[in-house]
């Protein structure tokens, strides 16, 4: 059997004393381990919040006594206990490593070492980052995915599939009511499935492909070290770049990933920024695709979004209480991604995403259909119309905002539709793009926010987001009108 690590005698004495405090309580964790954890001030044993660990012993333990044991021992060894314990273990680990490995005389480096140096040196790293963003996000996701692919698929649907579906449905069902459920303007196939397959899917596929590439190469940790200083000013740390970039793909997944962030404060700020300022890939793709034809509009949208991201982040950093975030990140070696791994990963994510959205998109079509039948849809849309006018948008934009409540990507697809039918243009397109990007996270994201951050935070964040989105839309519209910018 493996012999125990023997710590310096003052520490061993302390362990024995704590062990006797624990007494003969029955639990699955050996007393020596429990004593060591207590001496190292294990957070979940010491904290008030309930946890598995604590319920094993907390109530009856004399924590004051342990405190004094720690203090006495630290005085005796004139070092922090945590430190001394770790050091003893480390010493043994080093000995074992020495005994069982052959190390090179001279430290060698990987072949890609130069690439690492280029990617993190500020002079080369930042331009490389901008290039990656420009080609990865703008050209690949926006122009190629949101523009070319969506136009193609969407055109195909509009010209081939929809008319076919309309005819078939019309021959099967003589009643307009049933026809409208499946076909025509708001049908399950002609709207729900078309949105999911022709608009959302191509963009999301492209995004996930690109994101997998970033993940597997090991570039993400390098971005995080480049942006840490900037992110510190908005109450985050470089580590948050990973959920935020993922949020560009799907805010729902990203909200789950905020778990990896160090402090509660960081997690709340990141969740807020994800809900408010980070468009999901469908939105991003549609917006970039639409606005790329009008560079001035794109510039306004991008400037507004970046300003809000930094501004709200800065304010949130001031307002949300908690300790300042610290940043540490192990930088793994750059690795050549394997094509197989990337395709598998993209496929698995897409499958998840698609099955997540498809039922919702179909449900939305059904709801709209039922809403139209009962007049409820028109009622809500009529209610929203003044808001649209307030934002300077045509009243036909109201349904799109209603979709947006349901799913972000659904709203984005609606915007694409409005633009192609010539209803949204110029200034209105910019205002709609900004408001829709800021506007409410979709239902799935809310659900995850609730799960990860709790009810109070979710309500606070969601109501702030709605209020802020519409106010900002209003002011942006006024501002653009005053400045007489034309797109």
């Amino acid at each position: 059997m493996f012999e125990q690590i023997l710590y310096p005698s003052p520490i061993e004495a302390a362990i024995t004393r704590v062990e006797s405090l624990i007494g003969d309580r029955k639990n699955s964790i050996p007393h020596r381990t429990m004593a060591l954890l207590l001496l190292q001030k294990d957070p979940s044993l010491w904290s008030v919040s309930d946890s598995d660990m604590r319920s094993q012993l907390k109530q009856e333990l004399d924590f004051a006594e342990i405190e004094s044991i720690i203090a006495e021992t630290e005085a005796a060894i004139s070092e922090s206990l945590t430190f001394a314990i770790a050091q003893a273990r480390h010493q043994l680990a080093m000995e074992i490593e020495q005994d069982v490995t052959i190390q090179p005389h001279q430290q060698r480096a990987f072949k890609h070492e130069w690439l690492h140096q280029l990617s993190v040196h500020p002079l080369t790293g930042i331009p490389i980052l901008l290039l990656v963003l420009y080609f990865g996000i703008y050209q690949f996701v926006g122009v190629f995915g949101g523009g070319i692919l969506v136009d193609g698929m969407e055109g195909f649907f509009e010209s081939e599939i929809n008319p076919l579906v309309n005819t078939i449905v019309a021959t099967i069902f003589p009643w307009t009511i049933i026809q409208d459920l499946f076909a025509n303007d708001y049908g399950i196939i002609t709207l729900g499935i078309r949105y999911a397959v022709a608009i959302v899917l191509p963009i999301v596929t492209i995004f996930f492909l690109m994101f997998s590439l970033l993940e597997d190469s090991g570039y993400l940790p390098r971005i995080s070290l480049l942006v840490d200083r900037l992110f510190k000013t908005i109450g985050l740390s470089g580590r948050s770049i990973i959920p935020l970039v993922l949020g560009l793909g799907c805010g729902t997944m990203a909200t789950l990933v905020t778990r990896t962030l160090e402090s509660k404060r960081e997690r709340i700020i990141a969740t807020l920024l994800l809900a408010l300022t980070i468009p999901c890939s469908a939105q991003l793709g549609v917006i970039l695709g639409l606005l790329s034809q009008e560079p001035a509009a794109l510039l306004v949208w991008a400037t507004v979004m970046v300003t809000i991201f930094l501004g709200i982040g800065f304010l949130a950093g001031k307002i949300v209480s908690g300790e300042a975030s610290c940043f540490y990140m192990e930088i793994p070696p750059l690795r050549v991604p394997s094509l197989n791994a990337i395709l598998t990963k993209t496929y698995v994510r897409l499958k998840w995403y698609f099955w997540e959205i498809l039922p919702l998109f179909i449900l939305a079509s059904v709801l709209i259909w039922a809403g139209k039948l009962t007049g409820l849809f028109d009622f809500i849309v009529t209610g929203l119309e003044p808001v649209m006018l307030w934002l300077g948008l045509p009243k036909e934009a109201a349904p799109t905002f209603l979709y947006g409540f349901f799913r972000r990507d659904y709203g984005a697809a609606g915007m694409f539709d409005l633009h192609s039918s010539g209803i949204l243009a110029g200034q209105q397109l910019v205002v709609a793009a900004v408001t829709l990007t800021l506007f409410i996270p979709c239902i799935a994201q809310l659900q995850f926010m609730f799960k990860e951050r709790g009810l109070k935070n979710t309500i606070a964040i969601a109501s702030f987001v709605v209020f802020f989105a519409f106010s900002l839309g209003y002011f942006l519209n006024q501002l653009l009108t005053i400045m007489e910018l034309s797109f």
């Binding site: 190292q40 001030k41 922090s80 945590t82 430190f83 770790a86 050091q87 480390h90 430290q107 993190v120 040196h121 500020p122 940790p221 995080s224 070290l225 480049l226 942006v227 840490d228 200083r229 900037l230 510190k232 740390s237 470089g238 300790e323 300042a324 610290c326 940043f327 540490y328 990140m329 192990e330 930088i331």
Partner: protein, 84 residues
């Protein structure tokens, strides 16, 4: 480096220039969590350390491990400089 002059053999890492090499003499921070984190990532006293870069973040290499840290964490690593 100007600031090295006052304590050549015992400097917080954040006072050292890029490419400095040294041996870690102590790890101290008022936040206990940071010390624990560094220890568990394999940063211990007595180990050889290279400060690869200091902007935009500090990048250190300890053994085969490369870690990016911010200034606060860097300041908690005290180093005896052995060369550049």
């Amino acid at each position: 480096m100007v600031y090295q002059s006052f304590s050549v053999d015992y400097s917080p890492l954040n006072y050292l220039g890029a490419k400095t090499q040294g041996v870690i003499t102590a790890i101290r921070n008022k936040d206990d969590k940071i010390v624990k984190k560094l220890l568990s990532m394999g940063v211990h006293t007595g180990m050889h350390i290279t400060l690869e870069q200091r902007f935009p973040s500090f990048v250190i290499k300890v053994g085969q491990t490369r870690i990016a840290i911010d200034k606060n964490i860097a300041s908690s690593i005290k180093v005896r400089v052995i060369g550049r």
